[in-house]
Amino acid sequence: MPPALSSQFAPAIQDVSRSKKLQLLGILSGFAAGAWLGAAEAPTKLVSIGISPMVISLIMVIGVFLARWSLPALILGTSSVRADVRRAPHLVIWALLAGCLWAVANTLTIFAIRDIGLSIAFPLWNSNSLLGILWGFLFFNELRQAGWRRRAGVLGGALVMCVGATLLAIASSSGHGPAAHSLHGVWAALGAGILWGTMYIPYRKAYLTGMNPLSFVTFFSFGELGMMSILSVGSLGLVPLWQELLSARSVVFWLMLGGFVWVIGDIFQQYAAKYVGISRGIPLSNSNQLWGLLWGILVFGELHGRGSSIYLEVVGGSLLMMLGVGSIAFSSATGTEQTRWKDAAIRESDRYGVAAEFVEARMDGRRLLGESKPSRSALDWLLVVLATSVFVIFAAMARVPQMSLRWAPAALLIAVLFLLLAICGLALWRTTRFN
């Protein structure tokens, strides 16, 4: 890359304080993402009451679709989304592709949960962080000129996470799994990890080209809903699918709520990917594994009655994974590494013809000088009202599933979720105004 191009970003590079603030914001977003993504998996436990995994995934994706349109409309307004698309129309294709990857991965996770349980499936698909590091290094200059300590922190952390995941896989294959298809469950969870790890290529591509995470997720939703509809109709047929949806109407609300919760986690994850890159952002948001474990054990009593050795394997493996996450969190990118990120951003903006100053401003979490302030229109409020109405209608039909749930730990976990939402949401607003 010619030095003259890199010098376009020199003022931003010198703003060390701003850069550190954005790094911290990315790390905080990663942790908030972990908590919300972990909570979103809990409703998929409903698979044990006899609903097809395809139908569960489709209903969750419908909830996701509603959330991915209504939340951005509420936070920034659809005018901001339209402005982003005018600047970088090619990113719509990337967002659709990422949505398709998400839908297939999500369906695989439902099969994995059915076959090997939430506590064990979680860390297996969280192997996506290893792929995220690889793609970040190969394609987006992440960890280049990062120094040995930071590289060791990220790679060592990923390795420790891998050991933790292996420990959990051993626990799965030792015949203690909840179902007879443990090998299928392991493949499904690992496959989901590969799909989700690769899904971050479009994410990073979008953020290096200046797209707002809230705009990206809006188009992402078409890819996931389209792919999920194709999978469901192809698998079950239109009439049986409709009949299954009708018979599942009493739990539709809970599954759509799971999708909604997932979107909140995913939006935080998008900000993490934007501000700390995918090699760090993915492992951080993979702390959802710990949250999933807490929900599985405390609320659903998942390991109740198992031998103490299984507890040791699952808890030990999870702690190792969390140790790896901590190591990565303390290895944030230095100025020289960030210069390499910006080289990758220049490459992308040149390739796709996006204005360099726009990319620079967005990477710095700012609006472009002279860029109009986003505003909400009647259309935005209409989207919010429509999405809310759908949730209210299905909430009226909902019944609490006949499952053994412990409500006190559930209430505590929900309170922590909202606390993290408030802290991280406020930090994002104060620092970037969600730009």
């Binding site: 990337w94 991965a105 496959g191």
Partner: protein, 41 residues
């Protein structure tokens, strides 16, 4: 990564995407995922 070198021509963004190696990696993984799903079902 030669496939992602700056594109100075005024090609359509569809062509630009289809000649970007970054695009084909997720496409290949998506195909693999669909095959795995078919196998598991």
């Amino acid at each position: 990564m030669s496939a992602t070198e700056p594109d100075t021509n005024a090609r359509g963004w569809w062509t630009t995407i289809l000649t970007d190696i970054h695009f084909w990696v997720p496409v290949a993984v998506l195909m693999g995922g669909l095959l795995l799903l078919r196998f598991i079902r």
